[in-house]
Amino acid sequence: MITCQGKSVFSGVAIGKIFVYKKAENTVEKYQIEDPAAEFERFKAAQAKAITQLQALYEKTCKDIGEEEAMIFEMHQQLLEDLDYVESIQGIIENDKLNAEYAVFVTAEQFAAMFIAMNDEYMSGRAVDVKDVSERVISILNGSQVSAEAMPEPVIILAEDLAPSETVQFEKDKLLAFVTQKGSANSHTAILARMMNLPSLVTTDIELNMEYHDKMAIVDGFTGKIYIEPDEVTMAEMKEKQKRAEERRRMLQTLKGLPTVTKSGKHVHLYANIGGVEDVDAVLENDCEGIGLFRSEFLYLGREDYPSEEEQFEAYKTVISRMAGKKVIIRTLDIGADKQADYFNIAKEENPALGFRAIRICLERVDMFKTQLRAIYRASAYGKASIMFPMIISVSEIIRIKEIVEEVKEELRQNDIPFGDVELGIMVETPAAVMISDQLAAEVEFFSIGTNDLTQYTLAIDRQNQALEPFYDAHHDAVLRMIQKTIENAHAHGAWCGICGELGADMELTRRFVQMGIDELSVSPPFTLELRKKIREID
């Protein structure tokens, strides 16, 4: 039995086999080969395998999503079979007597450069396709590939770190836990793990050893430990622990249907944070009173092109209809920083957290912003929708947003498309917004404090940088005073104020937030009942 220690981001116990998830090696070796014919055969075998995988991905996508979305994988197969592409690789192997990995790498770079040189935003995006399929072949060649689509049964994912676009590609019913070497309690993998109710560990001192692949393991989300090939005693102990955790979960179920009020009768709205349509089940399951944060960027991630208005409308409409008259607060696109999609073609930034992201992208790319707003307004006819805007720093941004919103509404009216009464609010997640929260509150109907970014910007601590953990204090007085000031200014100017960041679920602070006068807490669905219990115990 091997025991490793990490930092737990969600409690619970998961028992199952390990799946080692490795990204394709970034460094491609270059070396001379003796037998070009054999080397080219090695390439042909890897190419055939990659095409089979892409075909499987095509079929899976056809079945799960639709043929339209699946076609990209058919195009990817064609790229791999392209004669110019193959001839280039063959040339490098045969004439220069270099290894197949290197030949594929150089060829991909050349074709990618050709697409980028076309000076056409759409076509330069195809450079990504060429590199993507080439990386697949390279990882087959150098044996580093374990593809995400090959998971036969629910597994514990072991990875160095996971980007949001990687996390979303896993099928939710095939996941038992995430265990990562890097990451932090605030990383998006951690947020997703909580969302999906998966006991998970970050900053784990575990090797990314291929020998662990398929081995039985236990993740203990209470202690942050992972046991690989556990002995019988540990297994029995953990099964017992899993059972107790399950019982506690059942006890919390008895709180369903009860109001979230303190003993003195102060009501706190208990809402849920979600990333997509598929999370609504968890929202209803945990008896959340509304949705306080619908992270719409997940509609934009893990894909090749912008989602259409129809596609977004369907997603918003489904969530709003299923919530049946309960409030659904949709946050407009919050992409940038640690959430990236290649087709946005955002230039590489030295400091993305302080860069071109969220509302800044929307206000520069107004057509894209309007598409999203139109989709939300159309969906608002089916229930109770609210919109909030991320990364606000100035009153002028709100004025501009309201102008755009008015244009969208006017267009809808002219086309006789119905829409509901939509409450507008903002995320308060920059120290700037806190400092002028009195002015901002006069312009909007509500605030939702995004404590993750607010903490990172207030403390000047990068939330992705684990080396800074010793300096990081989630309960830093500076942050708590920011929250207090925001709530006071909201109330003084007729707006309500909630928290949708991770601090909202921090039970050690619940009492304090209630004393500060917080109106709403929006948390991952699995925390709802626990939090309701806590609030009901406050005097």
Partner: protein, 85 residues
């Protein structure tokens, strides 16, 4: 040898998806099939080459079909262009 002239109407031009469909279709015929937009020429069976032409909306392209099955291939390609590009 058969020749088809066609003005592209798709707002995105012949982007990745139609290029993929053209290549898939061209590969089904024995004839040599080339696309010419005046500036560049490409073998219609090679996707990288077709995509790299960067054919835009409003551009006229000339497709040349030359080979034993050109009588079947040419009309099929013409219909395809009208429906998809």
């Amino acid at each position: 040898m058969k020749e088809i002239k066609y003005v592209v109407t798709d707002p995105l031009g012949i982007h990745a998806r139609p290029a993929g469909l053209i290549v898939k279709m061209a590969a089904g015929y024995k004839s040599a099939i080339t696309i010419d937009n005046g500036a560049k020429k490409a073998d219609a069976k090679r996707i990288m080459a077709v995509m790299s032409m960067g054919i835009k909306q409003g551009q006229e392209i000339t497709v040349t079909v030359d080979g034993e099955d050109e009588d079947v291939a040419a009309p099929a390609i013409e219909t395809f262009l009208k429906e998809n590009c």
